[in-house]
């Protein structure tokens, strides 16, 4: 009667656990991204994941720990090259984020703004990313340029996904990236005295 291809075996305890754990993490990510750290409640996350609130505590120990686990994201590297290449790489990075709307990085971003303490780890990660970006930009003010580039990327993401303001909220990634290319090329030091 039931599907033949189905294993139909009841999931093992380990599978079960992994399953609910990721369901909780996904729900948490969504909530942190949409509501920020403070307004995200453990009970609501649990409900969205279809489990009891106590379980979230049992698995993650505390809200802060849940946040850390939910908002972990792979560091994005940007290779060295000519200014235009660096600009291109950064724009590709931005495009990727615009295309798949990375819930995790939104969770970090929004939560860094709502509860800096909770996002202390991510400050460190952001600083590292800045340093790395600085290293591939020429000029004496590379540090500032990197910082501004970072600010623009975050600004665009914030306005599109968090504030949902203006055309940036619905424009195609390609339009946005194309519009920003001259900006990025200027900031990565295209007309810099080497």
């Amino acid at each position: 009667m039931n599907g033949v291809n189905e294993p139909s075996r009841r999931p093992s305890r380990a599978e079960q656990r992994r399953g609910t754990e990721t369901r909780i993490l996904e729900a948490a990510r969504r909530s942190f991204a949409e509501l920020g750290y403070e307004r995200t409640t453990i009970r609501a996350v649990a409900a969205a994941a279809g489990v009891n609130g106590g379980l979230v505590m049992h698995y993650f120990g505390s809200k802060e720990e849940l946040f850390s686990r939910a908002a972990k994201l792979a560091p994005d590297e940007v290779a060295a090259g000519t200014p235009d290449e660096v600009a291109g790489a950064l724009l590709e990075l931005l495009r990727k984020r615009l295309v798949d709307e990375p819930v995790a990085s939104l969770a970090v971003l929004r939560s860094m703004l709502t509860h800096a303490d909770a996002a202390e780890d991510f400050r460190a990660a952001a600083v590292r990313r800045l340093e790395q970006l600085t290293a591939v930009i020429p000029g004496t003010d590379a540090e500032l340029r990197a910082s501004v580039l970072n600010a623009i990327i975050n600004g665009v993401l914030v306005e599109r996904y968090l504030l949902r303001l203006g055309r940036l909220a619905d424009a195609s990634p390609d339009e946005i990236v194309d519009l920003l290319r001259p900006c990025f090329q200027s900031l990565t030091g295209r007309d810099q005295a080497m």
Copy 2:
């Protein structure tokens, strides 16, 4: 014994009231800017203003209302002109914000990200500002350009004052503005087919 020029008259009730009210509003602005909407507590604001918590309620009725009153800010107009002039005007606007670190606009910005409901009014204001900016930018994609410009301004402010990340946190306004000039000129449509 006391200063001769001092009126030394005890302040009238109306003066008294206005005084404490503005003290409360200032304290609220600072708190909203630094902590965001959620983490700002009425009691803390009251304490910072040197009054009792109940009084804040008495004067403003609710936390939301306090926020609305505290975060009111004058709309900033940007005059029409050539693309380079518009860019210049926008940069001046940014410079002003970088120089006097406008607590009010930070309060709005941070709170729009922490509690969108509370900042509904300010969304409307932001939309109006965007429309106005769109009107002075040439080209068919003026709307998107305006939105991106707005995103950059907010991104820079967020990174400098809210995240305090990288060199943007301590660089001089002039440096920042100079660095962004080419960006803004490109976005205001300097090389646009009219």
